[in-house]
């Protein structure tokens, strides 16, 4: 395996190990997502049909906002003891650093999504089980797109004042196409449509991921350097 991937895997493995030992990030994210779903429930009349049509939106809002919470932690680990400088002192490709970090964030988001789905079933009374296999692709593209954009901007907002506020302001507008694709395909799948019906959205989601991963692999060097 080329060194590039060995290095990104090393970063991914390190991040997962730290996350597993501290469990602080995922715990906070999951709790926050749970709260979002809960609050949304209060926003609608109990058992109204609106809740069902809003379910895809609620799912993604919970995932994205909880994800933003986790993203700002992602580079905070590297900031402790100035580890980021240690990483930059190694000859590792900045793209490899990006890829490792991004995959770590994506995995955290996927776990989060897996935790939110049952909450959705219980609280919003949405039938998800029959659509589950077809949901994998939309969720995968949505989280990967989010992780790519989010990792780039969380590295950027690391050194800024107003860090917590700046991250969503940068990330959310950029995410519009990916979010639209994710929500719309989620909705179509829940409504019982086959994947072929949402091919357009899937292509869009996949292309978005491809573009941002490629752009970030090239541009991450400029973000890391100082």
């Amino acid at each position: 395996m080329p060194l590039f991937f060995i290095q990104s895997l090393a970063i991914l493995q390190k991040d997962l190990k730290i996350e597993w030992r501290t469990r602080e990030r995922l715990g906070a994210m999951a709790f926050f997502a749970f709260l979002v779903v809960l609050i949304f429930n209060f926003a609608f009349e109990p058992a109204s049909p609106i809740v069902k049509t809003a379910a895809p939106g609620i799912f993604w809002i919970a995932t994205v906002f909880a994800g933003l919470l986790g993203l700002s932690r992602s580079f905070a680990i590297e900031k402790q003891n100035d580890c980021l400088m240690g990483l930059r002192l190694t000859p590792a490709d900045p793209g490899a650093i990006f890829l490792g970090k991004m995959l770590g964030n994506a995995i955290a988001m996927l776990i989060l999504a897996a935790l939110i789905l049952p909450v959705l079933v219980v609280f919003l009374n949405v039938e998800i089980a029959p659509a589950l296999p077809r949901l994998i692709l939309p969720i995968l593209f949505g989280t990967l797109g989010f992780a790519a954009v989010g990792t780039l901007f969380s590295a950027m907002s690391l050194n800024t004042r107003l860090r917590e506020a700046l991250l969503p302001m940068l990330t959310l507008p950029m995410l519009v196409p990916a979010l639209l694709a994710a929500i719309e395909s989620f909705r179509a799948v829940l409504a019982g449509h086959p994947l072929s019906k949402i091919a357009d959205w899937l292509v869009l989601g996949g292309a978005f991921v491809a573009l941002f991963v490629a752009a970030c692999l090239l541009l991450f060097e400029c973000v890391l350097e100082d």
């Binding site: 780039l152 800024t160 700046l166 639209l180 400029c222 973000v223």
Partner: protein
């Protein structure tokens, strides 16, 4: 002292002024009144021209941002930031005139049509661009991060465009297709407006750049005095 930047804004400024003087005649007198939309249709001339100016601004920002990351030349960053700012001005104009056009024609202030949604998202991205500008202290890092945002934001345009278009197909699309089949008098007025806004854009851009250059000179002089 460079001579060129002081001539260019003047030339473009004059051309823009002449254009702005003639354009109202073409728009209000020469071009006919559209039957269904009435006078509201006349908003379209400046609305669409502003959109063109906005795209010029954001694409220039994209090009200069790439060049900045490539050459690390401070001037490229200056040009990128200035084009983004003037682009954002025209972007705001598109967003303001959009609802004024939509209300009489479609009966609602805001319609989520693809083009308007795209403009809104672009506006948000470039507002974030200026947020970034004010919130990073290290000037070199500031320039680098903005360049990355300028590049990524512009690359995102086709995606946002496609996404908003797909999203709208769920509903009966509010077509602006009429624009394509404009009668000749309207076409003349329209092209003249686009040209005028083109001049206006560059006049404002050159002016903005000269302000920024003067400010830069002032800062370096101050730094020199402190040292």
């Amino acid at each position: 002292m460079h001579r060129r930047p002081y001539i260019l804004p003047f030339v473009f400024g004059m051309l823009a002024l002449i254009g702005l003087a003639i354009a109202p005649y073409l728009v209000f007198v020469y071009a006919g009144i559209e039957k269904e939309m009435g006078l509201a249709q006349k908003i379209f001339y400046y609305h669409v021209s502003s959109a063109f100016a906005m795209y010029i601004g954001f694409s220039l920002c994209f090009v200069f941002s790439i060049r900045y990351l490539w050459k690390r030349d401070k001037r490229c960053d200056l040009w990128a930031a200035c084009s983004a700012e003037v682009g954002l001005l025209f972007c705001s104009l598109v967003l303001l005139t959009g609802p004024i056009w939509a209300k009489p024609v479609w009966g609602a202030w805001w319609v989520w049509d693809a083009q308007l949604t795209l403009t809104l998202v672009l506006w948000l991205i470039f507002v974030a661009y200026f947020m970034l500008r004010t919130h990073i202290e290290d000037p070199v890092q500031n320039a680098r991060f903005r360049a990355v945002l300028g590049i990524v934001g512009f690359l995102n345009v086709p995606f946002i465009h496609y996404a908003t278009k797909l999203w709208r197909t769920h509903h009966p699309e509010v077509v602006r297709g009429e624009e394509i089949g404009l009668p000749p008098d309207m076409k003349t007025a329209f092209f003249f407006c686009v040209l005028t806004f083109f001049m206006l854009f560059f006049a404002l851009l050159f002016k903005r750049v000269s302000v920024e250059k003067a400010r830069d000179e002032l800062e370096s002089l101050k730094a020199e005095m402190r040292a």
